[in-house]
Symmetry: C2
Subunit: 456 residues, 2 copies
């Protein structure tokens, strides 16, 4: 019985034009990654569940897609879980593998597993899909690509500088001028919590602060109060909301606030290093801005925190983010391996390029010329020319059937093929081809060399 075909919610089919545009973004990112000395790795789509579980918090664990064991999986099932109908408990006994949730944990696993084959510092990039059982909504999918570049094995701040340059280079190469690379430092955030006397509420404090863009100053204060942060503390951070000016001016502003915090001052000196280097090596099209409210899943990051936002006027959240993490591989037993990395949000970058009409026209260009089919003899004559064109890198096709000419022309039109070739008895006798431009209707009679030259 015929089934009405569909795909699982939160997943997507990509048409030829969509694949071409996505490939253009991937290729641009990949090319810059390579220029900066990053090397590609790939890891399996599914990992042992033990590799992934417990690495993303309780909520993350719930969003991991689990793969059912093959064969008679109930034979090894947890009998208690079965009688109690406890899905969670049963899952661990009937599922050993799970689809990767991000590229970071598999990367950490890779580094530890292959540590003896790797030269550190190790600069790797990875462009692969990840899967999350999130509730699908506009712009949020259950299968999507991540494009990550990371370095592990060095604490040098030159890497912080390099990632700013990498963001700038990728977005400049994509002709997406005017993005803002926001930067912050975990140590500055820790410093804030310290000077207001709420170090034990660091997370609540930064989670609230991170929402300044969305809920405004009053909203942030309200949330801080709800989390039990004292009025006294809140009044002490008042100056954070009042920060004004360019990078240097804001930096001066927080210096005054953080002067008593060693950690905070360390964060400031790191930010200064980066700012000075970028001043000495100006960015191509992006701007670097200090955003002391930026946190991005703070627990993860230990130093620099990045977030990239689209040019002014484009309504789109972050199109990239990252930061330094000091102990990523520790969970797999390899200590003291500092890392720093950034990620590009493919789907959002796609939407921004689409909105600003920045995809080059050539990206979706397909077949350049369709040879019409007038019968077996004519088709052979055409195929010989098609073969020659292809070896000269011209995308050429023969319409496979000797259908009515109107049908063949309509096909060329619908597929946006710019040229057709008509070659019947007359052309064959003279070793010629009639080339017709679909839009203008202009026709030229050419020999093979002229045809190749014209279409190249």
């Amino acid at each position: 019985m015929a089934q009405k075909p569909s795909i699982p919610k939160g997943t997507r089919d990509f048409s030829p034009a969509e694949v071409a545009k996505r490939d253009y973004i991937f290729e641009t990112i990949r090319s810059e990654f390579k220029k900066f000395g990053f090397q590609p790795i790939e890891t399996p789509s599914f990992e042992n569940s033990s590799t992934l579980m417990g690495k993303y918090g309780e909520e993350g664990d719930r969003l991991i897609f689990k793969i059912l064991n093959s064969g008679d999986f109930l034979r090894k099932a947890d009998k208690n879980a079965l009688t109690e109908e406890d899905s969670n408990k049963l899952a661990t006994s009937i599922s050993e593998k799970a689809l990767r949730y991000d590229l970071t944990v598999p990367f950490a696993r890779y580094v530890v597993q292959h540590q003896n084959e790797i030269e550190f510092p190790f600069k790797r990039y990875q462009i692969q899909p990840v899967w999350r059982a999130d509730r699908p909504q506009k712009g949020r999918f259950r299968e999507f690509y991540q494009c990550d570049a990371d370095v592990v094995g060095s604490t040098s701040l030159w890497q912080e500088v390099e990632f700013v340059q990498l963001y700038d280079s990728v977005f400049s190469a994509l002709k997406l001028d005017g993005v803002t690379i926001k930067i912050n430092n975990r140590k500055v955030l820790s410093g804030f919590a310290e000077v207001i006397g709420e170090s034990d509420k660091l997370i609540d404090f930064t989670v609230a602060l991170d929402k300044l863009d969305k809920i405004g100053e009053e909203g942030v204060k309200k949330e801080m109060r709800e989390k039990g942060i004292s009025e006294d503390a809140i009044s002490k951070i008042e100056p954070i909301f009042k920060l004004q000016g360019d990078f240097s001016e804001k930096l001066e502003g927080i210096k005054a606030i953080l002067s008593s915090s060693e950690t905070g001052m360390k964060g400031i000196s790191e930010l200064e290093f980066i700012q000075k280097a970028i001043e000495n090596m100006p960015l191509k099209t992006a701007s670097l801005d200090l955003d002391v409210t930026l946190a991005r899943g703070l627990n993860y990051y230990t130093g620099a925190i990045y977030e990239v936002v689209a040019p002014e006027g484009v309504k789109m959240g972050s199109i990239g983010g990252g930061g330094r993490y000091d102990d990523l591989t520790g969970i797999f037993g390899l200590k003291n391996m500092s890392g720093i990395g950034i990620s590009f949000g493919l789907d959002r970058i796609y939407l921004v390029l689409e909105e600003l009409n920045l995809f080059p026209e050539t990206v979706t260009q397909n077949t350049k010329v369709l040879f019409l089919n007038f019968g077996e003899k004519e088709a052979l004559y055409a195929m010989k020319a098609v073969r020659n064109l292809r070896s000269e890198n011209v995308i050429a096709e023969l319409y496979p059937d000797d259908a009515k000419m109107g049908k063949q022309m309509k096909y060329a039109d619908k597929r946006d093929i710019p040229f057709v070739v008509l070659a019947g008895d007359e052309e064959m006798a003279q070793k010629k081809f009639t080339l017709k431009h679909m839009k203008s209707g202009e026709q030229l009679v050419l020999n093979l060399d002229e045809l190749i030259a014209k279409l190249q």
Copy 2:
């Protein structure tokens, strides 16, 4: 607690060199696909189970990886299956999605689902991973890529011709000269079964015949006997084993055998068409051969059947295969949509290129030059040059830390970076760079433009 990291059996991590080599194969195949007018599509990694189940036979169904429903999956579980501990029955009630098993069924689903957006004939290619819960063994993996090109919507034999040319073009582009493209036709196989009076045993007959390479003539006859094919019938096909000579001579040979079978003669005329066309348009480096024992999962194919084998002397099974199928989309309710397609076996092609040393050296080339790091001032001087080199497409890196020079040199050596740059006070004063070739030890003192020119 630290876990000893590993990956699921049958899956693989790919190192930078491996990814580079695989990408080279993908890129070469993709480039030829495009030249022939094929357009890319991508489909989700998992499909609704109902899309996949029942399409690959009982054995295939067992090899499909099923994804456990998220959340409290037992709530909707089949209670009878639970009490009976029936894994199969339970699976369908706790798993709605499954990882794709090949690219062909998802393609059929795509064509039916998007039939109103597609112009037929539709030439698509698709390069994505597939997953099978096969027992892992040498050269067989649970996750591997398929590279498929198909056309649906026309029965023209020019497509059969074009796929022969496509195979030739891809393997020629990979410099893998001398592959043999074997061709057969399902109608010829049906004709054989018909003339020996065993049409109802077509499958058993062809499955046995397909093994001629492996088990020899006596082995094939023995298997046929075991399957109940009569001695009389077996003696009638004797001439098949005796076929000699080139494509035309073998074709003459089977013409004599099949003269009484209309179906068989139709198959012969199709093969003749292809042979004549290829004679008129000689292949670049491959040869086309008739192999009347070729079956490749016969039930699937209705016309042409292809298989590509590596050049003589390389022990490797098929490195590609395909054929025509007349009713692929019928399972999803779209009738009369003939298709034909071929596939490339990435993993085997990789092994063949490795064995014959055919990967271009440039494929795994990484960073061209490492700037040594002598401190903050020197590093900034170096980074400025690195930045210039990168914009001229030279892969350049700064060693991130001002570690001992021996350590930095060792790093360049281990990573096979051909050049290092040393730039200290003296060079900085003169706006110069000392470029050292790692292998020869040769040193040059250059200004920035000379450095760029030298490394480009």
